[in-house]
């Protein structure tokens, strides 16, 4: 207790001194006061910490499949009827949140499954968006023809950019992907004759189908829901497949994976290509909804935010990544009331979440392998083994 008080007192004073030149003495004093208030709140919270942690861990486990499924069911219903129970603003935020779910799940293939740290993922989002914009305005193709083409274009870029990075490890890979992202953005910004430079491309056509042309926010909302469901479905299948296992094996130990007959080059390129193609789809959707694309939407900061969604939610876990994307879209929106303080709170929240849950919201919970019933029986019979030295 005494120790904690000392720590807080020293820390507050230290931060107070550090901020004086920037805030001026008066504002720094306000800051000091708020730190003291924070400290008092902390000491009120402290005695209950254990209880709160217990409740939290219970909530996070949500073990009963029935509870979990009913929870999913409720969420699904809410998602489906959202445009009818809310206004356009919320529908738009939700649309953007689901777009980011698609992006984050795509990046999760690269970072979460295959373990390749990609800091330039937004490049593929940009390729998708610009492919859509160009094909739709210059070639006059329809949404349904262009969207797959956007995905394919992005996948091709994924392979092109992935190829030279295959030999690189960890942080070298990170900086090269970052460089590629910047190169693509700068090119978009300067290649005026094709991309329109900083002004971007205007008047992009939206989708139309069966006589319905998409004009209302909720049209796009339902469209992105379909795309989102497809993405979740596909990524989930991949995760549970031989391919998904091979990716995780590469992430865990490349050398051993190679010795087990996994073609590292092929699998890494596949991860890049697939991850990119989801970004391409999201980009195509984005262009069609906004009717306008410009390089501003594809900055490094976007890559960073998408990466944060993946890590914050819990790398490799699909529900985790979804949750991460939703939180990182809703959080800044809900902080709009704080105006200028919004980004500072946002950044601080990122730090705090990592400090308290380094593995992410839903990280570290590994899916139990589902065995077939008869195998389960064999397993039980095998609890005692001839060759288990320990038992002797």
């Amino acid at each position: 207790m005494m120790q904690d008080i000392k720590k807080w007192a020293f820390g507050s004073l230290w931060l107070f001194i550090l901020t004086i030149p920037f805030l001026g003495i008066i504002n720094a004093l306000y800051f000091l006061v708020s730190l003291i208030v924070l400290a008092i709140l902390w000491f009120i919270y402290k005695p209950f910490e254990q209880n709160i942690l217990d409740v939290q861990s219970k909530l996070l486990q949500l073990p009963m499949p029935s509870i979990r499924w009913s929870l999913y069911f409720v969420i699904a219903i809410l998602v489906l009827i959202l445009p009818f129970i809310s206004d356009q603003y919320i529908t738009n935020v939700a649309t953007s949140a689901i777009t980011y779910i698609v992006l984050a799940l795509g990046l999760n293939i690269v970072v979460g499954f295959a373990g390749l740290l990609d800091l330039g993922y937004v490049a593929f989002y940009a390729v998708g968006a610009y492919s859509y914009a160009l094909l739709s305005t210059k070639a006059g193709l329809s949404f349904w023809a262009v969207l797959p083409l956007s995905a394919i274009m992005a996948a091709i870029f994924g392979i092109i950019l992935g190829f030279p990075t295959l030999r690189l490890r960890g942080d070298y890979l990170a900086i090269v992907t970052l460089g590629f992202g910047e190169m693509i953005r700068i090119t978009l910004n300067n290649w005026d004759s094709v991309t329109g430079g900083p002004n971007g491309i205007l008047n992009i056509k939206g989708p139309a189908t069966l006589g319905l042309s998409f004009s209302q926010p909720h049209h796009y909302y339902y469209l992105i829901i379909i795309i989102g469901i497809f993405t979740i479905f596909a990524v989930n299948r991949l995760n549970n497949s031989r391919i998904g296992r091979a990716w995780v094996a590469i992430r865990e130990d490349e050398i051993a994976a190679e010795a087990m007959g996994i073609n590292i080059v092929k699998m890494k390129l596949l991860a890049f290509a697939l991850g990119a193609s989801f970004a391409g789809i999201a980009g195509g959707f984005f262009a069609s909804k906004m009717k306008f694309v410009s390089p501003e939407s594809f900055t490094f900061f976007e890559s960073v935010i998408i990466l944060c969604m993946v890590v914050l939610g819990g790398m490799g876990s699909i529900p985790g990544v979804i949750l991460g994307a939703v939180v990182l879209i809703i959080l800044p929106e809900s902080l709009r009331g704080f105006q200028n303080y919004r980004m500072i709170i946002f950044g601080a929240a990122m730090v705090l979440i990592m400090l308290f849950r380094p593995q992410g919201f839903i990280g570290g919970v590994r899916r139990r392998l589902e065995l077939h019933p008869e195998d389960e029986k064999i397993l039980k019979q095998e609890t005692e083994s001839l060759y288990d030295v320990k038992q002797k």
Binding site: R237, R245, E252, E258, A259, D375, I378, E382
Partner: protein
């Protein structure tokens, strides 16, 4: 020693590997007979692991050829070599630490099946059947190595001895003709070593040929059918344990060195 041409599974012809001008191994000719337990021994730095890495494709040899099962596999990539029916373990255990024991073995047993994107996403009947076969096989190797009860444990939570065993199980799951073990007993206690020896014999009974690097002489003498001795990257002897034990060069390489370091 029998040198029946038809009975040779693996043969290296004048394999040489140099690192920056230094010969790690030089002109090594190795003959591994089918169905035997072969041991590769030699003092530290003799080039045993380098030879392993050349055989399994991790190092491209500077010179020489590697013939496996009648095929020239020189220059193939490690994953291609794994497909030809060779599996290995590593000196310092290399498991997929954040995967479960079962998943580790699944990686091994899926080696014999094709991976297709469409199959993965559609999860069609064929894929499902194959998946079932894969997990059936994996379970078989879990049983075989006595790791069943750890199926759902994370690999990194296993004890040291069990981790070694898991690495072995994973290698076996690729259904190899030749199994290369790099110091499988390193760091094991007496009991664990004993269990391991029995396991190796049991693998031999499955008609899998074994090539192992080992320091534990007692173990080597007990289980190996043939022994190859390397020293300073050069093969100095080969033969049955008895022959090798009497070989002057071998005694010189081991005892001589020990005296010098003592």
């Amino acid at each position: 020693m029998m040198l029946n041409k038809n009975n040779i599974l693996l043969e290296t012809k004048n394999i040489t590997k140099t690192f920056g001008g230094i010969h790690a191994i030089e002109d090594v000719n190795l003959h591994i007979n089918k169905g035997e337990i072969n041991a590769l021994i030699g003092p530290n730095g003799a080039g045993k692991t380098t030879l392993f890495n050349c055989i399994t494709g991790f190092y491209p040899p500077t010179k020489g050829r590697i013939i496996f099962n009648g095929e020239d596999i020189t220059g193939l990539k490690p994953h291609q070599i794994a497909e030809t029916g060779m599996a290995r373990t590593f000196q310092n255990i290399r498991l997929f630490a954040e995967m479960t024991v079962m998943e580790n073995i699944l990686i091994g047993s899926q080696c014999r099946y094709r991976m297709t994107l469409l199959g993965a996403i559609l999860n069609d009947k064929r894929t499902k059947n194959e998946e079932r076969e894969i997990s059936r096989k994996a379970l078989q190797y879990l049983r075989f190595t006595g790791l069943s009860k750890f199926a759902n444990h994370l690999a990194r939570n296993l004890s040291y001895g069990d981790q070694r065993r898991l690495e072995l199980a994973r290698a076996l799951a690729t259904e190899p003709k030749l199994l290369l073990l790099d110091e499988p007993a390193a760091g094991m206690n007496l009991n664990e070593t004993k269990g391991l020896m029995e396991l190796i014999k049991k693998i031999k009974d499955e008609e899998i040929t074994i090539l192992l690097i080992e320091h534990d002489m007692r173990m080597v003498m007990k289980i190996a059918d043939t022994i190859t001795v390397l020293d300073h990257g050069i093969k100095i002897a080969e033969g049955t344990p008895k022959e090798v034990q009497k070989n002057e060069k071998v005694i010189e390489a081991y005892i001589g060195r020990r005296r010098r370091t003592a």
